[in-house]
């Protein structure tokens, strides 16, 4: 079994996954509530919490799977990209466990991890496919040619899609993280009430910063009562603009790469309008959309392991 550990942002997670991609346990301890009062993820606060939680989540995953470390034959850990201080907590713990047990260590790229959430049982997807990875930190179009092998076709030039959702939610006074709340509110609104523009940039890239400004202008001119009355319409129109931009680009990218299968992973894959707008796409299961360690263990199945003692000096990376 593979023990996966993920601490790149604000979820502390551990999972046990078999070599065949079956999830035996997946424990995610979200810090969202902790960061809500700051209106965003604070790296130092996140890192402190990761240290408190990293071994308890491993322990919980083992007990949930009814396993011990004797059943583990590889340790997989997110090496980057992410918050460097947060990554180092998971990496130090992973190295220590692997070293103590003389196990190989698999350093996993977080983005490969998101894609590998599609390779888990009970219904694993086989490459090739066109993958949209959309989360609070990333918006990427990937031509996935094989397991762990992809080409980046497009990315965001400014805000990530999930970031656009969260910033919009904040402008509407929905708190943090507000993407899910905005999705819920949008169901009661008219997506055509406001025509929010999404910048068309060349190629297959995205730009969401103008959209946020447009929402700011729309909200600024409203009295608190008016805002309350139009909130659902604003949310629906704003969400519609983001989803339309994502869907258009995904279709273009799939056509350009000649891929018939489209897949969506990352936190934004949980958005209900996006799911409805891509009825033929393969969507990551809801539990695996946001950061988790099952996807890291899954990616480890297709990533070369580093044998003892080669990994002892391994460092984390914040960006690629």
């Amino acid at each position: 079994m593979i023990l996966g550990i993920e601490t790149s942002c604000d979820e502390t997670a551990a999972a046990l996954v078999t070599g065949e991609g079956e999830i035996r346990a997946s424990v995610v301890s979200s810090q969202a509530d902790l960061h809500a009062r700051y209106g965003g993820v604070v790296p130092e606060v996140a890192s402190r919490r990761h240290l408190e939680l990293v071994t308890p989540v491993i322990r919980e995953a083992l007990s949930e799977a009814g396993a011990t470390l004797d059943d583990v034959d590889r340790v997989a850990v997110t090496q980057g990209p992410g918050l460097i201080g947060a990554l180092l907590v998971g990496l130090a713990a992973a190295k220590a466990v692997a070293w103590a047990r003389r196990l190989p260590l698999v350093p996993v790229d977080h983005l490969n991890g998101h894609v590998a959430s599609l390779y888990l049982q009970p219904d694993p997807l086989e490459p090739p496919f066109l993958c949209l990875l959309a989360s609070g930190g990333h918006t990427m179009l990937l031509d996935v040619r094989g397991h762990g092998e992809h080409e980046l076709l497009g990315t965001t030039l400014d805000d990530a899609a999930g970031e656009a959702f969260d910033k919009g939610a904040r402008l509407l006074g929905l708190g943090y993280p507000g993407g899910r709340e905005l999705d819920r509110l949008a169901r009661d609104g008219d997506p055509k009430a406001y025509a929010f523009p999404v910048a068309r940039v060349p190629g297959l890239d995205f730009s969401f910063s103008g959209l946020k400004t447009a929402l700011l202008y729309a909200v600024r001119d409203l009295t608190p009562e008016e805002l309350e009355a139009r909130k659902a319409d604003l949310a629906a129109s704003y969400q519609h603009a983001i989803v339309r931009a994502l869907v258009e680009r995904v279709r273009e990218a799939a056509a350009q790469a000649g891929r018939e299968t489209i897949a969506v992973v990352g936190g934004v894959a949980a958005n209900s309008e996006l799911r409805a707008s891509l009825p033929d796409a393969r969507l990551a299961p809801l539990a695996l959309c946001t950061d988790n360690a099952a996807m890291i263990a899954s990616a480890a199945r297709f990533t070369p392991a580093v044998a003892y003692p080669g990994y002892l000096g391994l460092d984390a990376y914040a960006s690629r």
Partner: protein, 199 residues
């Protein structure tokens, strides 16, 4: 009792393997390569990870990231080997390595971690109250050498090993071994964001 001790709170990470008070091996490197040191110590001491009886871990104060690397490694080791551990203040280890001296750790942002009336404290180096002739040791003493010497302090040459919180002293000072998850970091400062929210 075979104790693995390490401290990654300062720029120079230290580690030691100590058997019933006898230092079998010692290393100095960086926090990121701590496990390389640990591996080398055990090979040098002819021991297997399973032979370890306990951990003695530096809890800071020092670099937040450094402290966490050491504690995360300790918790991982304890989980995998089922060993107990004890935390030792980095300042206490420095003081033990230089009897009579005042430990001064660089806290960045023009501040230092030191002992004030025997208690760990964070303050500006200018605010340090010193008896003339006090020996100051640690990376903070090295960094603020001029300022401290002006105050009448004595700071050993930069290469002096008394500036390092050597892990042999962590092993010697460690008491009350228990679950490593209960060994807490000594940050001495709340995160900036927390301070901003409180204001």
């Amino acid at each position: 009792m075979l104790i693995l001790a390490f401290d990654t709170a300062t720029e120079a990470a230290t580690s030691a393997l100590v058997d019933d008070g006898e230092v079998l091996a010692e290393r100095v490197s960086r926090a990121q390569t701590l496990l390389e040191d640990v591996d080398a110590l055990l090979r040098q001491g002819g021991a297997h990870p399973r032979d370890l009886d306990a951990l003695a871990v530096g809890v800071g104060p020092g670099s937040f990231t450094g402290v966490r690397i050491g504690l995360a490694a300790a918790r991982g080791l304890a989980l995998a080997l089922d060993v107990s551990g004890a935390g030792v203040s980095t300042l206490a280890a420095l003081a033990a390595g230089a009897p009579g001296a005042l430990p001064v750790v660089d806290a960045r942002r023009r501040e230092i971690f030191t002992l004030a009336d025997g208690e760990p404290a964070v303050l500006a180096p200018e605010a340090l109250d010193l008896d003339p002739g006090t020996v100051c040791v640690g990376d903070g003493a090295r960094r603020y050498r001029e300022l401290l010497e002006e105050k009448g302090a004595e700071v050993p040459p930069d290469g002096d090993e008394r500036h390092l919180p050597r892990a042999r002293f962590h092993a010697a000072l460690a008491r009350d071994f228990g679950p490593v998850e209960l060994v807490e970091p000594l940050y001495l400062r709340v995160p900036d964001a927390e301070q901003a929210v409180k204001r």
